[in-house]
Point group: C2
Chain length 445, copies 2
Amino acid sequence: MVESDRMEKLVSLCKRRGFVFQSSELYGGLGSVWDYGPLGVELKRNLKDRWWRAMVHGRDDIEGLDAGILMHPKVWEASGHVAGFTDPLVDCRQCKQRFRADDPRIEGGTPGGPESQCPGCGSRGSLTEPRLFNLMFKTFMGPVEEAASVVYLRPETAQGSYVNFLNVLQGSRQKVPFGVAQIGKAFRNEITPGNFIFRTREFEQMEMQFFVRPGTDEEWFEFWRAERMRWYEVLGIRPERRRFHEHGPRELAHYAKTAFDIQYEFPFGWEEVEGIHNRTDFDLSRHQQFSGKKLEYFDQERQERYVPYVVETSVGVDRLALVALVDAYGEEEVEGETRVVLRFHPSIAPIKAAVLPLVKKDGMPEIAHRIYDDLRGRLAAFYDDGGSIGRRYRRQDEAGTPFAITVDGQTKDDGTVTVRFRDTLAQERVDAGRLAAYLDERVAG
Amino acid sequence: MVESDRMEKLVSLCKRRGFVFQSSELYGGLGSVWDYGPLGVELKRNLKDRWWRAMVHGRDDIEGLDAGILMHPKVWEASGHVAGFTDPLVDCRQCKQRFRADDPRIEGGTPGGPESQCPGCGSRGSLTEPRLFNLMFKTFMGPVEEAASVVYLRPETAQGSYVNFLNVLQGSRQKVPFGVAQIGKAFRNEITPGNFIFRTREFEQMEMQFFVRPGTDEEWFEFWRAERMRWYEVLGIRPERRRFHEHGPRELAHYAKTAFDIQYEFPFGWEEVEGIHNRTDFDLSRHQQFSGKKLEYFDQERQERYVPYVVETSVGVDRLALVALVDAYGEEEVEGETRVVLRFHPSIAPIKAAVLPLVKKDGMPEIAHRIYDDLRGRLAAFYDDGGSIGRRYRRQDEAGTPFAITVDGQTKDDGTVTVRFRDTLAQERVDAGRLAAYLDERVAG
């Protein structure tokens, strides 16, 4: 399968089956914002839930937090975003289009020069010198649009964890080392968003800030680097499509001492899914400086006082959903037909089990409905009695449902149903009475 | 207890124990935005999860959706928000402060007149005529701040469900009547926010739009009105503190045929927590008109085509969290001391069970830790061995933990632990081996 085809097919499947719709499609769409449909919202819920369980519920040393999207504007001065979160842009004086200064399509020397050529209209020498544009969305709080009331939509959740460092420390009675985890929306006014839900202007992050004693930061960095890759392994993401990428000196953000990306091989190439960063004491020190308040920790055992270092793990939920979709997507010939299948790990599949009466008679729908009613309290189940059984199986394959439960003629006789496995197409007869436990075991994360 | 005291004590408990912090407190706070701390984020997760299970997973006729916060600006023209989502404001020419025109503190006739008195500085005749201010937050998409790229932060999630009506219908194969449910952030630039997390500028909604055949809307309205009140009953919210309030003709929103609020008696009075609205075909018809695309449903059984009516249920997560906190808050004398307790329904309590060794010796911490490790995979558990047992119980009472499990001298002998009940203070010995099942039964929603 050609890679660009694969992406196109996936986007089309996502729309058709209700995973992802273009935002405001009714009005021609809104650039780079996407809506999650009935299946997409469950996929995202499951991914977020797994992350929360792994990072917060599964550990004693990480606390959850949910800070606001709107924060005091000083936060973004301290973080460096007001001054430095910018992209250099150039305008074409001829066609009025705007481009990133590093757009590879700009030919003929640096923008601003007489030979530089506009990628839009082809004019020579029409591009302006690069100017810096801040990527933060700006809005106004209170009824007056004046500088005093400017607030930003956060470009990352991390700062909420830094400014609440003392609040969480005091409320939770944690000791360093400990972490603060958040899931929430963030916004970046990207100049060149794209690749479906990969780079969007509105997106959701799952970020964890781990506060450690200076000097132990490299050790903790290695711990979290390994731990986070292991998470993808447990999620069943193909090993040959994921790798580490270390940031070289020129890639490193201003706050980072060391940074590794976890990259995934999308149809459009290797790209970052998650970042693990040693942010040192940059953020807490800056907030100390800008707020005039101490953000120190007193280590009672060692009798020393310090500003903790931070090891951050940061993953985009939308990117992760795209990884899950791309990794799961498959096409294969089955009985002379092309079968499209999403091989999600059962723990993240939007529907865990579909209950299907073989035919719509002989009491099968009634039995199937009873089984469905029993299952749905425990896991995401779906009932379907419309169309041929083959077609219903195909629909569940496309939705990524790992188990299809069929009620047939034998069910009335011996109380068993068939369980059909999405990936192998194998079937197994299971006693209906122990179906719930049987499935529970197989869908656990 | 005086009511204003009750609110003050609750706010202080929320900060101290890590339920709710003021946003950007480090920088003096940001008006009317709040951050949820470790316990608050779990409370909110549990409330959202219960709603999602009741509305989406528990029903065959409701689909989930997660639309973007940013939408095409035409959406808000069609919905009526650009023209009509306004508050009348007046300025004081003297002190430059701004007030709602209906501010009860304005004395001396209508604002604008010579006798009207500024509630801020007391000047007479200094207030301007009322002017309308839109309550939507405005931002700019793309790098240029010009009218063409103005987008709004959504003031409600509902519109996302309307513009995706056909997408969801096609992707899910539902038939009318069916609903679309969403949980997500919304923003309103309120002039007078307040009462802690009751009225905030950034807030989270849980909204469900139920699409029905015109003529069946009143019947469905009654269904959802009863169903939603029942939800609060199941959640254990005190019956004497909740009631319906029907909107009179002057209260009704422009889109509504009938509207009922579910109100709760907060320390600051009876206020709306949830609204149930018969929105008729107002929204879908307006989107038809503004997009030029049909938003009709073809009913195959009746062979008729129509624009569905909508019955909406809309609840604020932050308000609901405040209901849960206020309703749960109690103070009582126990053994000569004042006990502060949050009597949450076990299904929404941030921590379900605390595991406590009676003393920090004789192998008790080791046994307690094993029990804790066993429990935490199944429910939100907490381990604490610091301080006297009485003090640890009190800490869990304040956190709203329904069950405290104590490992004592007898545990080593017969394998039993004591389970202490938060509400009655009764204790029961339970076999450690069946503890998980014992608790599972008691915390289920």
